[in-house]
Amino acid sequence: MSEFSLMDDKLSNAQIAWRAAQDLEDGSYVNLGIGFPEMIATFQPEGREVTYHTENGVLGFGQAPEPGQEDWDLINAGKRAVTLKPGAAFFHHADSFAMVRGGHLDLAVLGAYQVAQTGDLANWRVGSKGVPAVGGAMDLVHGAKRVAVVTDHVTKDGQPKLVEKCSFPLTGVACVTRVYTSLAVIDIEGGRFVLREKLPQLSLEALQAVTGAKLHLDGPVGDLLVPETL
């Protein structure tokens, strides 16, 4: 086995999104956070029906329209133009967040600066400088039956993003249930990181070395396998 390179052999964002998409459940209601998490919809497995929710009051939206076909009254929370699927619905913001906090969504997927082993999430600002903006992140982490994160395993500087305790300002406490990273799939159970899958060529020791809190094992660790061409 050739030596694993953290920068060259990690999964791309598209590959992380593909892996997260494999867990989309048929018949589920899902909110994908702005940016990276939105990519998950691209890889929704054939034969599974998923209804997407967006904070600004649309349930059942589809892909972006063709360029030039945008209707800017039909956008998602990222302010991007979307289309409607048959059976879509519009509603106001209070109903939208009732869907979020009221436990009606099956899954919310967000990005992260840091995730703690307790399930704490930091994803809205990295310090006290600049203009703070929170949007719906602090609401989305509460209420969905599962709250997942898609993220690089480490920062651009190689620092762990999975940590014992977040140092950046929190978005929510004890809210994340699963993390899909560029190296592994990790559940958060009972205040611990439980390793479910890792890249097969990466040793457990090497993975632990770039993880900021102890990885626990609970049964066999699967191989994290994704299409190479994404």
Partner: protein
């Protein structure tokens, strides 16, 4: 009953200095551009209104709408969830210069505070923001083993709204996702002003289609073929 006002200028003529004004919309959808620009026109002509507190999800984009109000110096404070946009220079430069105050509210909490304000509910508990810096100083309580933050209602002196269909009684419908905060703000301000693209006679809207019943609306002004904020931003329009 006839709540129809003839022009946007007339509809916003009594908004005074220091008023708290809710403005509908999320990003560019549902923003009552003509009402906002009528307010800016009055400010340019008379120096009033100024020192306003504006409640919106965002804090303006480009150089039109709320961004143009901020650039003109009419706004003392923004209450919003996401003061960031494709071009947020108007807010950013004033904020970083300490010339505008910001009350940052999680989006769902903002919506529910406005709904509560309109529904006569002075406070409520939400899980959102518990354990974060946005909950600092707020009462918290355990309900059935989970912690919640107490949030207060949010009310305003005026609300500026954008609707699709309207009638002289104030009944309103909205166009697609341009609904967003508009029906909530319709409930939560002392004086509510709606610009409507399609103003019809009483009975022209199927009662089953009415989203905002007229009881919540004080003034209706016809704005056929209204401008769309996102389109204005993308074409670089400066107001």
């Amino acid at each position: 009953m006839n709540k129809v006002t003839s022009t946007p200028a007339e509809a916003v003529a009594d908004i005074p200095d220091g008023a708290t004004v809710m403005i509908g919309g999320f990003g560019g959808s549902g923003a009552p551009i003509e009402l906002i620009h009528a307010l800016i026109d009055r400010f340019r002509a008379t120096g009033s209104p100024t020192n306003l507190t504006i409640i919106n999800n965002n804090a303006g984009n480009g150089a039109i709408g709320i961004a143009a109000m901020i650039k003109a110096g009419m706004v003392a404070k923004m209450i919003c969830s996401f003061p960031r946009s494709s071009n947020a220079d108007a807010f950013n430069s004033r904020y970083l210069a300490g010339e505008i105050a910001l009350e940052l509210v999680p989006q769902g909490t903002l919506a529910e505070r406005i709904r509560a304000g309109g529904a006569g509910i002075p406070a409520f508990y939400t899980p959102s923001s518990y354990g974060t810096e946005l909950a600092e100083g707020k009462p918290v309580e355990d309900f059935d083993g989970k912690m919640y933050v107490r949030e207060r209602w949010l009310k305003a002196d005026f609300a500026l709204l954008k609707a699709q269909k309207g009638d002289p009684l104030g009944n309103l419908t909205y166009r697609m996702a341009a609904r967003n905060f508009n029906p909530l703000m319709a409930m939560a301000a002392a004086r509510t002003i709606a610009q409507v693209a399609d103003l019809g006679e009483p009975g022209s809207i199927d009662p089953a289609e009415v989203v905002t019943p007229g009881i919540f609306i004080d003034r209706v002004v016809a704005v056929p073929d209204p401008q769309q904020e996102e389109v204005l931003v993308r074409t670089g329009v400066v107001y």
